[in-house]
């Protein structure tokens, strides 16, 4: 079980009064305090960790969020913000003495402006909900995390979510114009707006990806983009991982940036094929899915160039889609990869490191050796263009030893990512899952610098506690306060 800060006993002792306090701010139906109804909030997408909160508050307006925050601040109550609860790093895991601030009722789209190419939405609008709202006019919201049907834009901002198409369109941070935030003490601040590049410090960039450590996000102004004329995928399979990696280098070196460039290893190909019957080559050691966009003629041109490059690496098979249906078939296995692994193993841990792409053969070889050593299977999917690696470690959650081995295996993979010049997390966030590995990537001076920035926003460390930073008392705090 994950270690958290000690719950504040004086807060636990006042739980009934705190529920009354919240009900004085919100309609009673939007405050949850009974054990049964708290159950759904005890975990998120990282279901191995569970902890029911003291209460759940479900505000419907920014002003209500501000009132709840002011109340909790006054009372010294910790607050855990939550969107759809799809975090894979335990980013929304409650503490026993915390109020979960659920933003899912703030699900309205406030403004869409096609001429200025932006949309203003509340934090609880789903990622796909934005695209759905603008698709009739031929627009879309670019970041597309695989949880996009469920995950909410507020959570996307907090985790700086990516997706399969970031190589071309960037991550969440690159697709934002403005935020409305509520500070830990309940003040409402507008950051940025409908324009580019607000003068002064880049608060928008700092808050994006801050995992609920700095402020609550209630409204988001996103850039919307016109959809391309079309897109088409191809598949190329190779008999060695190194060869597939070299092929990726050659494609990018030729000046082509495909909108998606996905890599799957043999265990992943097999799991996906058994699940989706996508026609993947079962004898391949590695497979690439490459997607381009543009008019049909432009797709032909780009796919022709890419095919010529792949040919130089002796692919054991290659398939270029000729239609939307064929592209969907190629993607079908990849998009179902997590579910496919879930079918062949009782449970799996989805890891999320990033590595310099040149290190891929070395890293996959090492992961294979580790897998053999600990006796747990692993399947690898990889956003090959940007180096984001997702090893899926297979284990059995009913067997404590298996779970422990999986956690250790996962940590070893992430340490390896850092060792070869990469990082602990490319898009899932640190959360509780990778919190204690932060010292692998950062030294204490660097962690203290980050802690002091956190303290500048949240001097009492009430926001999303026990996440991101290794548990130690924020000694750095006194420095900040002394300087005031």
């Amino acid at each position: 079980m994950i270690v958290q800060h000690e719950p504040k006993q004086e807060v636990l002792a006042r739980s009934a009064a705190i529920l009354d306090g919240l009900r004085a701010i919100l309609p009673a139906s939007n405050v949850i305090g009974d054990a049964l109804r708290l159950k759904p909030y005890e975990t998120d997408g990282l279901a191995a960790y569970r902890q029911p909160p003291l209460a759940v508050a479900l505000p419907t307006t920014t002003e209500e969020v501000a009132a709840v925050m002011a109340y909790c601040h006054r009372e010294g109550i910790r607050v855990v913000p939550r969107g759809a609860g799809t975090s894979l790093s335990g980013g929304a895991l409650p503490m026993a003495d915390s109020v979960v601030l659920g933003l899912m009722k703030m699900n309205r789209i406030l403004e869409i402006d096609y001429a200025d190419r932006l949309a203003v939405v509340q934090a609880g609008v789903t990622n796909i909900g934005i695209t759905n709202a603008v698709s009739a006019e031929g627009f879309f919201y670019a970041p597309d995390p695989s949880s996009q049907l469920a995950c909410m834009i507020g959570g996307n901002v907090m985790m700086n979510s990516g997706g399969a198409h970031c190589l071309r369109y960037g991550v969440t941070a690159n697709n934002l114009l403005g935020l409305k935030i509520v500070t830990v003490d309940g003040q409402i601040i507008e950051i940025g707006g409908a324009h580019c590049d607000a003068a002064g410090l880049d608060w928008l960039g700092l808050i994006t990806g801050s995992e609920g450590q700095l402020a609550i996000v209630t409204e988001v102004t996103v850039r919307i983009l016109r959809s391309p004329e079309g897109q088409r995928a191809m598949l190329a399979a190779f008999d060695a991982i190194d060869v597939a990696g070299a092929c990726v280098d050659a494609i990018i070196g030729s000046g082509i940036i495909p909108v998606a460039l996905e890599f799957m290893d043999k265990p992943c190909i097999h799991a996906c094929e058994a699940f989706a019957h996508a026609g993947y080559p079962m004898d391949a050691e590695a497979m690439l899915i490459i997607e381009v966009e543009g008019s049909t003629a432009e797709q032909d041109e780009l796919l022709g160039r890419i095919r010529a490059i792949c040919d130089r690496f002796n692919p054991i098979s290659m398939k270029v889609s000729n239609s939307v249906e064929e592209s969907m078939a190629i993607w079908k296995g990849r998009k179902g990869a997590f579910g496919a692994v879930g079918r062949i193993s009782p449970d799996y841990l989805c890891m999320d490191g990033t590595i310099p792409t040149s290190q891929l053969p070395h890293v996959l070889r090492r992961i294979g050796e580790m897998s053999a050593e600990c006796g747990l299977g692993v399947a690898n999917v990889f956003h090959a263009g940007d180096g984001n690696l997702h090893p899926l470690i297979m284990f059995d959650a009913n067997d404590p030893e298996s779970f422990h081995k999986a956690e250790t295996f996962g940590a070893d993979i992430l340490k390896l990512c850092v060792e070869v010049g990469g990082c602990l997390t490319g898009e899932h966030g640190v959360g509780v899952e990778k919190r204690d590995l932060m010292t692998v990537q950062f030294n204490e001076t660097e962690l203290d610098q980050q802690r002091r920035v956190k303290s500048a926003f949240d001097p009492d460390w009430l926001l999303n506690p026990s996440k991101v930073f290794p548990l130690k008392l924020p000694a750095a705090r006194s420095l900040t306060l002394a300087a005031e």
């Binding site: 200025d116 190419r117 580019c196 990082c423 490319g426 001076t445 002091r452 303290s455 005031e484």
Partner: protein
Amino acid sequence: MSPVTETALQEAILAAHDTAEPIWVYGQGSKAATMRPVQAARSLTTAQLSGITLYSPSELILSARAGTPIVEIEAALASNNQHIIAEPPDFSRLLGATTPQTIGGVVATNLSGPRRVAWGAMRDHVMGVRAVNGMGEAIRSGGRVLKNVTGLDLCKLLTGSHGTLAVMSEITIKVLPAPERRATLAFAGLDAAHAVAALSAALGSPYGVSGAAYLPADAASMVPMVSWLGGSVTLVRIEDFAPSVAYRADRLRADMAPFGAAEILDDGASRALWSAVRDAAPLPAAPQDAIWRVSVRPSAGPRVARALQLEFGAQYFLDWGGGLVWIAGPATAAAHEAVCEIARAEFGTWTLFRAPEALRLACAVIPPEPAPLAAIAARVKAAFDPKCILNPGRMRAGQ
């Protein structure tokens, strides 16, 4: 002080920290004439922290020490047909600078060119930094990979912080393949409102427009590549593989026929034209004029320009689809207040980009922050630079 290693940089800052003496921090000083002047006992240049330390074209990554001249980086990238995505401008002419700008200076000021409208700002492509804070501590954030959400994103916080939080010693940026070909559609004779409608149509098309600017007649006359068209010009850039550029230019010309018959400028003319737009060369600013950059939602650009023409006969041009308004006018407090007022009314932001030192000291050169944010900002400043020695007052008086 001109340290040649990061350790020497740490020692220089630590010494100033121990005596609480403010430092004017700069690269080559090419942008010293913008923002507020720093009154400091010491000065520190990163000019000698120079050189590209890592360039991996297939990983789309380049690292360089802060004092590396941008031209050196651009040359290295060009030899592999790659480029800096945000197209950083060179304002030497505008600011009367004779020194080359450095990667540290470009990142510290977060200045981006025309491609910003489609591909993001400089800060969007800063993947990693090494820096020394106001206590002489070396810190790193980000790294050398393209996707990284590990810990707070101090890269973004330091980008655009004008050296007020920490002194960057090394920077890693994402780069991309340079386009094979460029072309520009030029529509003659539109007024500003119709021009921005045209630019919105272009940017809202599926044809990957990467530049969208409007030069009113006076501004267009400053640029030889378009002055021959006579009157105002509305400019739409496409950059891509050669067959795509030809196809997309045709489609855009057909789809945008309601805005007039577009002239197509070829690759060479497009390069020269967009370099000029990037560097604000079309702005008809007299040597004694003040210059402002106002950023608003694109549809508000023409209203901002119109209001300031009426107010003080402003000269201007629009970039970023109408959202970036470059303004020239008298270097007076009254003109400055008029710029601030219209920017506020349109919920935008502004920078007094060039003005005599007296005006830059007397006025706010960027908007003030709302009180709760200013309080946070003061604590963030203290979190990096508790003795307030790094470029004090550079962005705002007393900060």
